[in-house]
Symmetry: C2
Subunit: 243 residues, 2 copies
DNA sequence: ATTGCCTAAATGTCAGACCAATTAGCAGGG
DNA sequence: CCCTGCTAATTGGTCTGACATTTAGGCAAT
């Protein structure tokens, strides 16, 4: 049985305005037409437009400024991914917790990748590895290249959940690393070692050796965890000294 | 510098009504006071109350029914967990994808648990195992006992992310199993084998042997995956036959 | 007992008014 | 000429009152 669903007017206005933003008729930072104009344009009352504005505001898409107007804050509506990011990004979550979760996710991901990797997948992954290599040779932090590599790796699993979760974890880590100046990767003897670990992972995937791939990934992430522990210890010591 | 934040009236009304619901002044299914009464009670206009109602409705806490009133749908505001559930529960996600993700999460979780398990933790876990055992002996499906066991296991990691994610995965799987009549656990030779796998996991944790714990968990989840594959094949065959 | 209609009350929507904040323009003093 | 401060217009924020639509319950006719 199909139940008839009441459709509130403000909901239709929300969709209309949302479409205007996502389709690019108004860019981020632009001022939307006034509420009174929307009301006239859509043949509804200003109340309906205001209710729609409240929804759009709570979606984080617009900001209503009295005396000025309504400004576009972002051009895309929040997705489930954003909520996942919120979970991972919560301040209570330590970077250690995040790294441990990543360990579970990525070790199994690389295992699946080793079993399911096609020639095309491998080519893309090796390309990402080369980009990472070049960036490291230039002495860059290469955070973006590292992110790309790991996301590409997760995509080889062909499992949307791994792709979504790994993408979220990786971007949160990238943010965290930016805040902490990415000291981890910059430490003496850091990048070359990280690079060789990445190569070992790709090598195992190439041979479709899932067990070796897991071991290589576990080794890599244990090293990252170890360095992070050292870094945290170092900071704590500095904090104590500064008292 | 502390910026002064404009506080919209409807936001305060939202907090007021939300508190009334979460504190139990109104139970699920109850009819809230009318919008006009709220307006009078809080000394605001009905517009403000209506805007608050829209927010509460979009939070999924209330349902506004014309001619009747506003009924309470749930007594707790949605948390990040609910959005995680939404991600995992999305129809596009196959049960296979979910199981594969669970493999990554839980293998590493049991590894952490083996390293961090206290005597008290172990006692609780063994208690859950006994409950599972008794339920299986009675010939029950024991879905809830299985859920409890795995959530307890994840809590031993002391890592909030693992606890949150594992709880979500487990409850989604429980729902899915309910829909599919939990055939997996009911198959001949199913429960006893599952039980022995659980015992092996607990045994490894007891000995703080993280590597053996991972292997035991991998074996267990591979078996679950295998059975699920068989089940899906079986259903496909039945579907073909019924054409 | 069922059907149909009437009424009361609630939400949904509308129109208009006023308040508060912002902006732009203009007048006046330096 | 430039800066200051006032004024008016514009915009979102709130309030009020009205009407439309939906629901529930009472009541009479069938």
């Amino acid at each position: 049985m199909d139940l008839i669903k009441r459709v509130r007017i403000y909901e239709m206005v929300v969709e209309k305005i949302k479409a205007l933003i996502t389709e690019g008729h108004y860019q981020v930072g632009d001022l939307l037409p006034t509420e009174r104009e929307f009301a006239q344009r859509y043949g509804v009352s200003r109340s309906a437009v205001r209710e729609a504005m409240i929804v759009l505001h709570r979606l984080g898409m617009v900001d209503n400024i009295p005396g000025k107007g309504t400004v576009v804050v972002t051009d895309s509506e929040p997705s489930v991914n954003d909520y996942l990011l919120e979970l991972l990004n919560a301040e209570e979550q330590s970077i250690i917790n995040l790294l441990e979760l990543r360990k579970g996710i990525e070790i199994e991901a690389v295992s699946l990748a080793a079993k399911r990797c096609t020639k095309k997948d491998l080519a893309v992954l090796q390309e990402k590895l080369e980009l990472l290599e070049k960036a490291v040779e230039k002495g860059e932090v290469a955070a973006k290249e590292d992110h790309d590599f790991h996301v590409t790796l997760s995509s080889i699993t062909k499992n949307d959940l791994y792709i979504t979760v790994m993408t979220a974890i990786s971007s949160v880590m990238q943010n965290t690393l930016e805040k902490t100046r990415a000291e981890t990767l910059n430490k003496p003897g850091g990048p070359p070692r990280v690079l060789s670990e990445h190569k070992a992972i790709v090598h195992a995937i190439k041979n479709n050796d899932d067990e070796k791939a897991r071991k290589a990934m576990r080794l890599h992430l244990d090293n990252v965890l170890h360095k992070t522990y050292q870094e945290l210890d170092h900071k704590n010591i500095k904090q104590v000294k500064s008292r």
